[in-house]
């Protein structure tokens, strides 16, 4: 079971409330799909500028592996107030700890409600469906 302290997008991003802000990252499933389970297969993460406004679901960056590129979509609308700069140089963090150290951006959201997103149970059900 994935952490139930946060919500999910069907495109495998997570959003977690942290005081009045929202941390955004990608799930272990996303990392595994992209890297085929090999942390060295991730080659680049394109991060947004701090201060950028994003709509809910908007692409804020891209993550690239040896053989594929994937969009990074923002689960909530708001202003990007911080990026995890460590990720750009240490993509292996995403493989090692996608839930905490592997956060990508911090958003000051228009609303702190995450009700429009999947809960852990619904996200698990989605993964199960895609694996069968």
């Amino acid at each position: 079971m994935r952490p139930d302290d946060r919500r999910y997008l069907p495109s495998h991003e997570w959003a977690k409330l942290d005081d009045e802000t929202v941390l955004v990252g990608i799930t272990d499933f996303a990392v595994k799909e992209l890297s085929s389970g090999n942390e060295g297969d991730l080659v680049y993460c394109d991060m947004p500028e701090v201060g950028r406004l994003v709509a809910q679901g908007e692409t804020f960056g891209e993550i690239e592996s040896v053989k594929a590129v994937a969009d990074l979509n923002c689960p909530v609308a708001g202003e990007i107030i911080e990026i995890n700069a460590e990720i750009e140089e240490h993509l292996e963090v995403l493989s090692q700890d996608p839930w905490r150290k592997g956060w990508l951006i911090r958003v000051k959201p228009e609303s702190t409600s995450l009700d429009h997103l999947l809960d852990a149970e619904a996200y698990e059900a989605l993964l199960e469906k895609s694996e069968h």
Binding site: S36, Y44, S65, D71, L72
Partner: protein, 382 residues
């Protein structure tokens, strides 16, 4: 990650029921391979990290299942004349026991596929791309009028494995009585391999390394695969997926249908002149006249690009010279051999010059690239 459909590793992980499999499918799965849809076949894209697999072939030796490739046998009294009529290379000039690279083109000179042509006494053996096998067969069968020829699809009944890398001969020689030292590059012969008589042994490959491709009855696939892996253990032999194969062939400057060549990109501008014969003695062949005109006045040229930036060139990305869009990327890869990210692209002939600086556009962000001559890597020309 909604854009995850932009790369081959991001295809659905689950095989649809109509996907074809080679008889080694379950062996790959048991080895932990990641299997993806490749031209309608459920094939191993990698067993481990792709870059490690590339290095394994460059430094040691790798084993590939190529059971998805199309194998076609053309025989009959007019086999030679027929093949010369449909392919670009001069088949009648190929010495017996030798192989040439060629293309199958439409009347307007646009390629349907590229292929290897094996000439032997009793017929011509063709190896074509998995993605085009059906179209190739239909095209050839539609153009047999006036030729006494039989075209046979042997894809299913034959297995095809490739051993690639400098230790290939050392590995294969443990399992065959054929004297591999006497078999030159782009030559083939029949010999006993793993106790199987008359195995087609071909000194060819798609990696830029020395190596062999072997063809034998499909029912023996698993045994031969396992015996090769065991025989190559001391040489560091490992199974290699199609992901590394794509990087290896791009480093070696080899074209891939659907990337460097397709309906929009002809063999002349792709730099494949060596595979296109305009000799009178070859006779008229399908696509000859339009390609002759291209040869006299090419507009574009296929070149390589390298970049020190972190972004990887990908098929379809646009290239710019200042504000002018000048071409698109055909293929791209992280190249462990070159130590840079690399790509191939068509550029106008005046810009297709080694040393020229161009920009790669990735959704509005620019990354500097340098034009280089192909290939990126040659084992004989370091």
């Amino acid at each position: 990650m909604a854009g995850a459909d932009r790369g081959p590793t991001a295809r659905p992980p689950v095989p649809s029921f109509e996907m074809k499999q080679t008889s080694l499918h379950d062996v790959h799965a048991a080895l932990g391979a990641k299997l993806v849809d490749f031209a309608g076949w459920h094939m191993p894209v990698q067993y481990g990290p792709i870059l490690d697999e590339v290095r394994c072939v460059r430094e040691r030796v790798g084993l590939f299942d190529l059971g998805h490739m199309g194998r076609v046998w053309v025989s009959g009294p007019d086999a030679l004349a027929f093949v010369d009529h449909v392919v670009t290379c001069y088949t009648a000039k190929i010495p017996l026991g030798s192989i040439r690279y060629g293309l199958l083109c439409r009347e307007n000179g646009s390629p349907i596929d590229d292929l290897l042509v094996y000439r032997q006494e009793d017929g011509i053996f063709l190896v074509v791309n998995a993605s085009n096998t059906d179209e190739d067969l239909a095209w050839m069968r539609a153009h047999t009028a006036g030729f006494d020829v039989t075209i046979e699809d042997q894809t299913i009944e034959l297995a095809m494995l490739a051993l690639q890398g400098q230790a290939s001969a050392a590995v294969l020689s443990k399992l065959t009585d054929y004297d591999l030292a006497g078999l030159g590059y782009y030559k083939f012969a029949f010999g006993t391999v793993c106790g199987l008589p008359d195995v087609r042994i071909s000194r060819t490959g798609y990696t830029g390394e020395d190596g062999f491709e072997v063809y034998f009855p499909d029912g023996e696939s698993e045994r031969v695969w396992n015996e090769l892996l065991a025989a190559g253990e001391s040489e560091g032999l490992a199974p290699i997926g199609l992901g590394a194969r794509d990087t290896l062939r791009l480093e070696a400057g080899m074209a891939l249908f659907g990337h460097e060549i397709d309906a929009e990109h002809n063999p002349i501008e792709a730099g494949l002149n060596f595979a296109v014969s305009f000799k009178e003695e070859k006779g008229d062949w399908i696509g000859r006249e339009p390609l002759l005109r291209v040869k006299e006045n090419p507009r574009r040229k296929l070149i390589g690009i390298t970049t020190d930036g972190k972004r990887v060139p990908r098929q379809g990305y646009e290239l710019y010279k200042d504000d002018q869009a000048i071409g698109r990327v055909c293929s791209g890869a992280v190249s462990p051999t070159i130590g840079k990210n690399i790509g191939s692209a068509y550029l106008p002939v005046d810009l297709a010059v080694a040393g020229e600086s161009v920009d790669l556009d990735i959704r509005g962000k620019r990354q500097a690239c340098t034009v280089v001559d192909l290939p990126f890597y040659s084992r004989t020309r370091k």
